[in-house]
């Protein structure tokens, strides 16, 4: 990982053109060859970037004062041209292999809690297993309903369209398994976006809104009638 802080302007030449005027910026050059240019705001999304594979050519400026770095994409030939006026910081660090992102705590906990209280989905539900493996990744929960039919459950904190898509892919695969067939889908989330609900309903997937607090057994101290 090479970190450069420099006053630079950036021109992108490719399928579209974009220009970043001269200003101080952070340039990240990562071990996989990717280059990204960041401003001093927002936690993600660089101002401009080039995905690997790409090559970087560093050359002095025509009048010798600064430098021009040209990042060329290996396949498409698109170019990111950094005109550097002044370098304030330049350092490289070996980070090694990243252990990967831990699954969101709440989502994992929701899965655990729902597996424990599987009858939240309906009377007579029984758990088959959590993280049921399929060729394209594990299904959060596989269970049976009161009639013994298989139900695949996808759990999200916020239920969005991509969660429904994910469940649809799992269902397609699971329904090829004659020992499980027919498999019905349940999309369970703390909050389900209306668009996701429409898509799920249209695909015959039922939606369940989960109450994390209730599943955890933490009662609020507000008095209730029942």
């Amino acid at each position: 990982m090479r970190l450069v802080i420099a006053r630079c302007s950036v021109d992108y030449v490719g399928r579209l053109t974009a220009h970043l005027p001269m200003a101080p910026r952070l340039i990240l050059m990562k071990a996989d060859g990717s280059v990204s240019i960041h401003a001093d705001d927002r936690a993600f999304k660089p101002l401009n970037w080039m995905n690997p594979p790409c090559t970087v050519r560093e050359a002095p400026d025509e009048d010798g004062g600064g430098a021009v770095w040209t990042v060329t994409h290996g396949k498409s030939g698109e170019r990111l041209v950094l005109t550097i006026e002044e370098i304030w910081h330049d350092s490289s660090h070996e980070l090694g292999v990243d252990p990967g992102l831990q699954k969101d705590g709440v989502e994992a906990h929701l899965q655990e809690l729902l597996a424990e209280h599987i009858t939240t989905l309906g009377e007579g539900y029984t758990l088959i297993r959590r993280e049921y493996p399929t060729a394209i990744g594990p299904v959060d929960i596989l269970c049976r309903d009161s009639d013994g039919a298989t139900v695949a459950v996808e759990i999200k904190r916020r239920g969005e369209i991509d969660g429904v898509e994910q469940l649809t892919r799992y269902l397609e695969l699971l329904n090829r398994d004659s020992t499980l067939r027919p498999v019905r889908g349940v999309f369970a989330a703390q909050e389900i976006r209306p668009q996701a609900r429409v898509l799920a309903t249209d695909r015959g997937i039922s939606c369940v809104t989960l109450d994390y607090e209730a599943l955890r057994g933490t009662e609020s101290d507000v008095m209730r009638l029942f």
């Binding site: 309903t201 249209d202 507000v222 008095m223 209730r224």
Partner: protein, 378 residues
Amino acid sequence: MKFRVERDVLADAVAWTARTLPVRPSVPVLAGMLLDAGEDDGRQRLRLSSFDYEVSAQVSVDIDVDEPGRTLVSGRLLAEIVRNLPPQAVEISTDGAKVVVSCGSAKFTLLTLPVEDYPTLPAMPELTGSVLSDAFAAAVSQVAVAAGRDDTLPMLTGVRVEIEGETVTLASTDRYRLAVRELTWTPQDPGVSAVALVPAKTLADTAKSLTSGAQVSIALSTAGSGEGMIGFEGGGRRTTTRLLDGDFPKYRALLPDSFNSVAEVQKSEFVEAVKRVSLVAERNTPLRLAFSDGRLVLEAGAGDEAQAVEVLDASLEGDDIQIAFNSTFLVDGLNAIESDIARLQFTTSTKPAIITGKPVDDGASDYRYLIMPVRLSS
């Protein structure tokens, strides 16, 4: 298809039908409104329909038919157009794959949707009985206010309808309050006994919109005929909705039958005072009420926060009581009672209180609003 209709008649009918158009139709034809012009019972009628697989709506109005026919057009667009037409007769006709709406000097051409793809509306279940439309709308609005809005407990988002002979009981609760209303109606079969859980929002909208006729007919599907549906019909409008599943809580057991204190307060003064005093109550902080001989002290806010206090005249029988409520829930209950004088019945400051109107002849009130108090700190 070609027909003429009065602008106001059409505007009312289209606006009413458009209410049930789905916001996000999963199939494009569901965004359509079905226009069906023809003879119905020997009269020239236009039938407008909309359907989103949950709720269906159909209205029938008198028109002059030149050429009978059926067509499907974008419901929202038609509703917008008709609402803005000048007050003159409207002529609607089909022209190939287009529909032409002309009124005075204005003329609109709309694209049609494939009418053969439009789903068949569910048939109305068999008539169960009928009720005066104004009384029904009032009763539903009194009860629906207490229904839950939280999707995690779907059965609490409904109004429970219990039919027992000539009595209909409506109930709903969101676990913090419970509203129960009894009303009489005219059943088809005097020995009828049935229950249903109807989505509260749909029921409230429906009851309010069916007051143009004197009576509302209610049709509840029985176990044998088309499971899980209720239909309402009145003043040429009919609507069906799917029922909710799930066990409604056994609410009758929640209603206390003995009390330690009974207070009576002028309703409008009370509502205004609650609204005023709760201005300083931050979200979820309680409004405190102290009833003692002849007066009611309302207080909100504490410690370093802003505070408010107001004193009202009130009659009290029984023990003095200090109790705190969520002010929104209290106002909902007070606004729902029909009498000018609110009667509040208390057991203790941690047990639910009942709000009713003061009964005219000291009989039992047909509306009860049970409200859970909020714990008083310290």
